[in-house]
Symmetry: C3
C-alpha cells in the first residue's frame, strides 16, 4: 500500500491545537462581554482601522472567539440577508474569507468577480453603482485597486460598505485578523495594564507608506500601546512613512524604530509580521534578499510569525510545522473576526449576544 493509498484510506485528522478551540475559549474567558460597542457598529461603514476604538476591538475579538470556539453558536442569524461581494481587484483568498464568514451566518451572496463585465468598466459612476447596490443588497464588501473608490461609493450609499482593501491605502479587516491572532496568543495583553516585562516587541517587515496591510495594522496596534514595548519596521526603503503617518502612530503611544537588517533584530522580536515582498513593486523586490524567514532564522523561542498570505519566497514552508507558525491560525481566525464584524454591521448583534433592549 503506497503512501497515497494510505492517505486516501485514513479518515482526516481533526484540527491541531493551534487552530483548535482551546485558545478562543481562553480568550472568551479572559475578556468581559459588553454588547454596547458592537451595537454601535450597526449600519456603519467600515473603511479604516481608525474607526475602531479599543473597546470595540476587544468585543469584536471576543465575539470572534465565541464563533471560533462554538461553531453552532446560533442558528444562522443572517438568513435572508444579502452580501454584495464586489472584488473589482480580484482576490480569491480575501473574497472566500468574507464569503465563508457570511455563509456561516446563513446569508446569501451575490459576487462580482469579473471587473470587465461591470458597469464600472462601461463608465458608470461609482455613485450610480452605489445606488444600485442600495437596492439589491444589505451590505457591500469592496476591494478595489483605486484608493478613492470606496470613498466615492460611500457618498451614495444607504447600506453599509466594508473596505476589503483599497489600493495602497487600507485593509482594516486584515488588521482585525492580525490583532485577533495576537489576542488568542496572549489574551493578557488585552486586559488593560500590562507589566513592562510582559509587553511585546513587534517586528514588521514592510513599508508602512506603501502596504495597506501594514498601514492598517499599525493604526490598530496604536489602540493597545500599553501592551507593546516597541514596533520595529524592517525595511530597506529611504521613505517608509507618508507625511504625518509616523507622527500619528507616535501620538497614539507606539514606540517606533526602523532598521534595514532582519537577522540582527530577529532575536528580540516576540511577533514577526512579514508580507509578500512582490506587493511593493520591483525596487523592493530586488532589495528583498535577506528579508526572509526560514527555520534557520534566529527567531526568539516562543516568537510567533504572522503573514497575511498568499506568501512568496519570503516565508519558507519549513516553518509551517514549527510553533512559530501562527499565520495559518491567522488565516483561520480571519473568517471568525469577519463574522463578528458583519454581524455587527447588519444589526444582528441582538441575535448572538444578550442585549439590554432591541
Amino acid at each position: 500500500m503506497t503512501h497515497l493509498d494510505e492517505q486516501l484510506q485514513r479518515p482526516l485528522q481533526p484540527k491541531d491545537g493551534t487552530a483548535g478551540i482551546e485558545r478562543p475559549r481562553a480568550l472568551v474567558d479572559a475578556l468581559p462581554e459588553d454588547p454596547e460597542p458592537l451595537l454601535e457598529l450597526a449600519a456603519r461603514h467600515v473603511v479604516s482601522s481608525r474607526q475602531f476604538d479599543r473597546a470595540t476591538l476587544i468585543q469584536l475579538f471576543r465575539l470572534a472567539a465565541q464563533y471560533e470556539a462554538t461553531p453552532a453558536l446560533m442558528h444562522l442569524p443572517l438568513t435572508g440577508k444579502i452580501l454584495i461581494s464586489a472584488f473589482y481587484e480580484p482576490s480569491t483568498r480575501t473574497r472566500l474569507s468574507f464569503e465563508s464568514a457570511w455563509h456561516r451566518l446563513g446569508g446569501a451572496i451575490m459576487s462580482i468577480t469579473d471587473p470587465k463585465s461591470t458597469g464600472m468598466a462601461k463608465g458608470e459612476s461609482l455613485v450610480d453603482i452605489a445606488e444600485m447596490f442600495n437596492n439589491y443588497g444589505d451590505v457591500i464588501v469592496l476591494r478595489s485597486s483605486e484608493d478613492q473608490a470606496v470613498y466615492q461609493m460611500l457618498e451614495g450609499l444607504r447600506i453599509p460598505i466594508v473596505n476589503a482593501g483599497n489600493g495602497i491605502d487600507e485593509h482594516p479587516t486584515q488588521a482585525l485578523a492580525d490583532v485577533y491572532t495576537l489576542a488568542k496568543w496572549r489574551p493578557d495583553l488585552f486586559r488593560g495594564e500590562v507589566d513592562l516585562q510582559a509587553r511585546i516587541r513587534v517586528g514588521i517587515i514592510g513599508v508602512p507608506s506603501r502596504m495597506r496591510t501594514v498601514r492598517s495594522l499599525l493604526l490598530m496596534l496604536g489602540r493597545f500601546p500599553e501592551a507593546i514595548r516597541e514596533v520595529v519596521i524592517i525595511s530597506r526603503e529611504d521613505e517608509n512613512f507618508d507625511a504625518g503617518q509616523r507622527e500619528e502612530l507616535e501620538a497614539a503611544g507606539l514606540v517606533l524604530r526602523v532598521v534595514d537588517q532582519l537577522d540582527p533584530v530577529l532575536p528580540e522580536l516576540d511577533v514577526v509580521y512579514i508580507n509578500a515582498i512582490a506587493w511593493v513593486g520591483d525596487t523592493f523586490e530586488s532589495l528583498g534578499t535577506g528579508l526572509h524567514l526560514t527555520r534557520n532564522s534566529p527567531l526568539k523561542p516562543g516568537a510567533i510569525i504572522l503573514h497575511p498570505l498568499a506568501r512568496g519566497d519570503e516565508l519558507a514552508t519549513d516553518l509551517d510545522d514549527t510553533p512559530h507558525n501562527w499565520y495559518f491560525a491567522q488565516a483561520r481566525g480571519a473568517v471568525f473576526v469577519r463574522m463578528a464584524l458583519l454581524t455587527s454591521v447588519v444589526r444582528r448583534i441582538s441575535a448572538v449576544m444578550d442585549t439590554p433592549e432591541q
Copy 2:
C-alpha cells in the same frame, strides 16, 4: 472633524419617501387582489411583453407592491429552489436585480457569467444546454446578445425560462419594472376608466425598432391605452419602427407621434423615458446631441423621468435630487416585480396569496 469622518460616524439614513413603503402600500390598497392570473403563470416561459394581459400585469404589480411594502411578507417561499442565472451577454445590473429577487425569496443560485467557459462557446447546441438546465435547476434567467437564443433553448426546456434581454428584440421584465413604477406613481391610471384630463402623455427618447427596452415597454403600455393620451417617440432616425410594429401598437389603442426635438415637446410630457444613447450604435450617438435631460430642461412640473440605467451623459446627475427622479425608484422596484414574477413562474403563489385550492 472632516466631512468624511462625520459620514463614517453617522448611522445610515433610512430610505427616503419615494423609495419607501408609502407608495407601494397605496398601490396595494388601490387594486383588488385576484390570485387567478398569477396562478396561470405557473411553469410558463416569459419571453415577450405580449404574453402579459392587463389582469396579469395588475396582479404582478400588486404582489410586487406587497413585497416592497412588507419585506417580511413570507418566510422565504423559494427555499430549496434553484435559479440558473445565465448571462451570456454580461450585465451586472440586471443579473444582480434578478439574483437579489431570488435570494430575497430564499432560493439558491447558480450563475454563469463567463460566456467563454461555457459549452456554448465550445459549440454545444442550445437545445443540449437546455436539456442540461432541465436537470440542474428550477428556472432559468437568460440574457443573450442573440435574438434567437431564448427561442431555440425553449424548444428543449421542461423548466421555465425568463428572457432577461435577447439582442435588440425584447426585455419584458424591464418593461414590468417600468410600468410598475408608473403604477406606484399613479395607481388611479390602473383602475379601469380614466378621465380624459387624468390621462398621461408619455415621451420615449429612443428607437423602438432597435432598443429592446423600448420595444417591450411600448407593448406593455398597449395594455393600458385608456390611461395614455399619447405616446411621443423622440428620435432622429428615419426608420423608427419594424414592419408592423407601429400598426400593432395602434391596434392596441395607443396614439403615437414621432418628433425629432426633445425640448419643444418636453413641457407636455407627464412621463419621460430616456435610455442610454450608446446602446443604439454610432449613428444615433452622434445625433444624440440635444437628446439629453438636465435640471435646466423644460420639464413639466410633476413630470417623472424613467431610465433603465446604467446611464451615460444623456441623463444629468443634477436631476437626482429633484422630484423628477423616479429612475432610482424604478431600479428599486425592479427587484420586487421580479420577485412577483418568479414566485408565479415557479408555482409558489399559493405560499404568498390566499388561493382557492392548490
Copy 3:
C-alpha cells in the same frame, strides 16, 4: 396562432418516463439498504474510481435513486455547510451538476471559475491553497487540467476533496453517473450472480489511456465483472492502454477486446458509451470518421447509448427521441449520485438513512 405562441401558452409537460421516478423506485426496491459503506466514506477524499468497492457503489446508487424518486426526501441536510467549487479548468456542465447537487441538499457554495484571478495563477503553492480551503469550506470539488494538482493539494487538506476531473487521469464521479445509469436501466445486473444470458456487452468508443472518463468508467465496471460478458474498446489508436492498465482491468475480471470499426460490432452491444471525439486531440479527430452514432447506425434493439456530454458530431441528435437515448437520463442522474456521494463525504448519512448509532 403560431407554433411559438402555442408553446408559450402551453404549460410545461412533466418529465417523461425515462427521466422520471419509476426506474429509480425500482432500483431502490431491488437493492437492500445498508448504511455502513456510506458511513465509511465520511471525511474521505474521493480521487479515483479505485477507491470504491462493490458494496459502496451499490449503496451510493441506492441512495441516489432515493433522492431521484423522492425529491423531498429530507429537509436540506447540508444547511450551513459550505462547498468550495474550484474549477481551475472551466467546465460549466460539471460545475453546475455538482452545484445543483449541493444546493438541493441545502448547502452554500463558493465558486472559483476564473483561474487567472487565483493565487495559483500568482504562483501560490497548492499546499497553501489547501490550507486556505481548510479554513473556508467543508468540502472541495476540484477540476484541474493538471493530473497532479489534486494529489498535491490533498497533502495539506483537513477537509475532504472530490476530484471532478484531473487532466487525463480520472473523473470518478462521472463514472458514478455512468454506472448509476446502468443500475437504473438493469437493476438485476447489480444483485450478485447474473445468468450468462443476462450479462451485457459494453462498447466504449474512446482511448482508455487518454480519456479520464473512460479510465474511470473501466475501473468501476471492474467492480461488477459478473454482469459483463465483454468490454469492447472501439479505437483507431495503436496504443490504447497505459502500462499496466489493461492488466489491472483483466485482473478485476473484465474481458477486453479492441476493435477499430464501430458498425460491425454495434449489433452485438447492449451498451454503447461514446465520448466527444475532440477531447483526445487532433490525431484521433481526423481518424474519427465512422466512429459516430446516428439513428441509422445498426444498433441492437434495446441497446442504450451513454455519453458524458457535451457532445459534438459523434452523436447525432436524431437519436434523442429514440429509446436508445439514455444519455439524458445519465446527465440527470449525475446530480443525484453526486448528492449521495457528497452527503456521505460530509458525514450526513445519518440525516437521510437509518443508522445504528451516530
